[in-house]
Structure formats: C-alpha cells, structure tokens
C-alpha cells in the first residue's frame, strides 16, 4: 500500500515540476501511438466498411482472420518486425530498427485488425439500414463506403479509441523494435518496465499514473473535439 502512496506522491511532483524527461517520454508516447492510430485508421476504417458492404469469395475467411488477428500477441509482432528491419534482414538497408518509426510500424500492425473488426461489426448493422437507399440511388462503391463512414462516425470513434488504448499501453513489441533507448525511443511503458527492473517502484508507479491520465485525457479530448455527448445528440 505504501508503494502506491509513494507512487501517487512521486507522480504528483513529476507533473507539478514539469519534469523535462517525463514530458519528453510522454510526448514520444503520444507521437508514436497517435501516428500509429492515424495510419491504422486510414487502413482499417475503409477496409472494415468494404468488408461489410461487398460480397466476394473468401469474405468469410477474411473476416474470421481479421477477428483472430485482434488477439495478435504484441511480442510476436515485435519479433517479426525486428527481424525484418534488422540490418541483416530484408529491410535492413532502411536503417529503421531502434527508431520511433519502427515502433509505429509495429503498433500499426497490432491495432489495424482491432479497428477493422470493430468497424466491420458496426458497419454491418448500418449497412442493413442504408442498403436499399444507397442501392436505389445507384451510388458507386466508393460513395457507399464514404457515406457509411461519415454516418457511422461515432461508432468508428469508439473503434479508433479502442485501437489507441491498445497502442499506448503496449510494451512487448515496442520494447523489442525500439530498444528503449534513452532520448530516442523510450516511451512511458518501456520506462515503467525499466524502473521496475531497477526496483524503483515509486517512479515506475508514478509513470504508470501519468500514462493512465494521458489515456483518459486523449479520450476526453477526442470526444470533446468531435462533440459527441452534447445536448440533444446522444
């Protein structure tokens, strides 16, 4: 119990004194996870919607695969990305291993199936409602996808936030591909793992509280910016 109190105390002082290192790794956490979120959403939202409105061979298989990939173990993703990006791997010439870019790549792979699956579920129901209308208006495939994404944006926001939550709290993959280098690839989760290793539980917990606060803050900010839950529209 004492450790938790010490952690809260340390977190409070880190935040109040605007600790330079804390700000740096928090910003890097946000930078990596938000970039991964933007890229993953750009892939997953159209993909999930497309799967909801188009019938094709192997569609069922694609959807089951996507659902299975939601549970992709981050450590395995990390290891595969590591081997691909290593100097002796196929993409070694790019020199991306142990950079924030490598961490973004790993996180995109982890969260894209999650966002796509939730999108697909939501869009399937919306499509049932819009089906007749959009068919009778003789819309093109692209128009249908755009209409559904726009009208289903609130559910999709939830999908994106679920993806963000998984990305910012993830440690297994980014530890392997980022290497937890001070001033280069250290983020909140890897710093927590490091401080726990040093036996400095107070600092580790403090960073943990900052991470939780950050996740809550981003969620509130996105909801506020997109004006959900406002009067008359919930």
């Amino acid at each position: 119990m004492n450790d938790i109190y010490d952690g809260l105390h340390a977190a409070f002082w880190l935040v109040v004194t605007l600790d330079a290192q804390l700000i740096e790794i928090s910003l890097r956490s946000l930078q990596v996870s938000l970039t991964a979120l933007v890229i993953a959403s750009a892939i997953a939202l159209p993909l999930g919607t497309f799967l909801a409105i188009r019938r094709f061979r192997l569609r069922r298989l694609t959807i089951s695969l996507l659902n299975a990939l939601m549970g992709l173990p981050p450590v395995v993703v990390g290891l595969i990305v590591y081997i691909l990006l290593s100097r002796s791997g196929p993409f070694g010439v790019l020199g991306l291993l142990f950079t924030p870019t490598a961490m973004i790549i790993a996180q995109v792979i982890i969260i894209t199936p999650l966002i796509a699956s939730i999108t697909h579920q939501a869009m399937r129901e919306l499509w049932a409602e819009y089906h007749d209308l959009l068919i009778s208006l003789n819309t093109s495939g692209g128009q249908r996808v755009r209409t559904l994404i726009w009208d289903g944006r609130r559910t999709l926001l939830t999908a994106a936030l679920a993806g963000f939550g998984r990305a910012i709290g993830e440690v297994g993959a980014i530890m392997i591909v980022g290497g937890n280098i001070d001033n280069a690839t250290r983020v909140l989760t890897t710093a927590i793992a490091l401080e726990t290793g040093k036996g400095d539980f107070a600092l580790a917990l403090a960073l943990g509280f900052v991470l939780i606060a950050l996740a809550i803050g981003v969620n509130i900010a996105i909801h506020w910016l997109s004006r959900t839950e406002s009067e008359g529209r919930w």
């Binding site: 290593s86 001070d182 726990t196 036996g199």
Partner: protein, 268 residues
Amino acid sequence: MIPRFLALIIALVFASAAAAETLRMAVTTSFDNSGLSDVLLPAIERDIGLEVQLLVVGTGQALRLGEAGDVDAILVHSRAAEEAFVEAGYGTHRREIMYNDFVLIGPLSDPASVALAGSVRDALGRIAREEPAFVSRGDDSGTHKRELALWQEADFDAAGFGSWYREVGAGMGASLNTAAGLDAYILADRASWLNFGNKAGLTLLYAGDPALFNQYAFLPVNPERHDHVRADLSAQLEDWLTGPRAKELIDGYMIDGETLFTFNAEVE
C-alpha cells in the same frame, strides 16, 4: 485533405530525427542498472560531441546485435563469448575497460549459512546441499554464463537441479525483484546490487573470491561486415573510454560510499 493528411504523418514520423552524431552501443544491464551510464554518457557528449544511444540487453543479445550489425559497438562482460565474437570476425578487437565483482545475495536469515563460506565453491556447495530457493538469470547474459561456470567449477550441474533452482529469463533488476519476492539466493554483479532499490529482505552474503572477478570490455563491430557501421565514431569512443577522464569518472563513481567499478584499461 489527402496531402495534408500525409504531411501530418510525415511530420509526426520525422519530428524526432536527431541531428547530432550518434552511435549505438549494446551494453549489459549491469552497466545501465548501476547508474554509471548516467554519469558517463553526458560527459561523452560534452567532451567529444558524441551522442551514445544505449541498448540495454544481456550479453548474449548484445553479441547478436553486433553480429547483425544493428549496433556500432558493444560493451559486455563475458570473456569467452567476446573472444569468439572477435575470432569470427564480427568485431575488430577487444579492449578491456574496467572491472567489478560478482556477489552472492541471499535472505537475511541465510538458511544455507553462505555467509560462513570460505570460498565461492564452498558457498555454492552449501546452497546445493540445503536447496533453498535460488534465482538464476537464465537469459544467456554474462552474469548467467558466469553463474553456470561457477556451478561447474564447484562440480555441480545446474541443469540437474530441482525446483528450488529457478531460471527466470530476465535482466538483473527483474531477477533481483524475483529473488526479493521469493527470499531467494542469487548471483549479482556488485554495481547492480548496490543501485537496486527494492532490497526487501535480501543482503550481501558472500564476496571476495578471485573467481568472482568481472571484467568489462569494449568491442567495436567490424565495419568490413557492415558498411553502415560507424567505425570512426567507435574509435573516438574507445579513445575516450580508455582515457584519463573516463578513469576519473569510473573510479570516482560511488554509491553509499562504495566504489562500484575499477578502471583498468591499458593506455597505449
């Protein structure tokens, strides 16, 4: 919409691209956990304008990173493995920098009476007879290799031990945390032990046998195998690490009045 979106992504991805000369070095967990890196790295940056990025891993993984060319140099502590690394042409040479020693840590109650041991061989014999919980790194690190070698020298086979011998497959700090939780014995390097924050019911029980000597060496990765490796920068770093300023900082680094490392590089 689309160009702006792409610009945003590019800006986010490259926002942190650093401009200074950087060198990647894989080091053992003890170098970083001891806190010595926090003293040396800023001094290196001030003196020779070189930003050293540390990858803190076990010796086994550090050597793998060097083989693959993912780092420019390594600083580890496992002589046989280091010599094999140079032999195979992955590194240009091996340069000794500093040493400290391994220590046997265990519970205050000391059920195996390790504190009374006359040598490390005797200490391990007592542990093997009593069979109290013993935590092994189990991660192919320098400390793990040394522990296995010590068991072998004491005529025990660690692979044949019962459930009291626990391989955790983790770094020094994480293994110490496990030992603290289990009230177990563990072999640690002195620097990591002194800098460890969660000592709980553990204490230093045995140290001082010459067999516990722990030499750290610097190995630049061979640029002939990987052209992107910055041999020029690792040569600069080697000069600094073997120079007077490094000697002063390494010898002067203390925790609770105890010296952690002793500089022993031969100056050419």
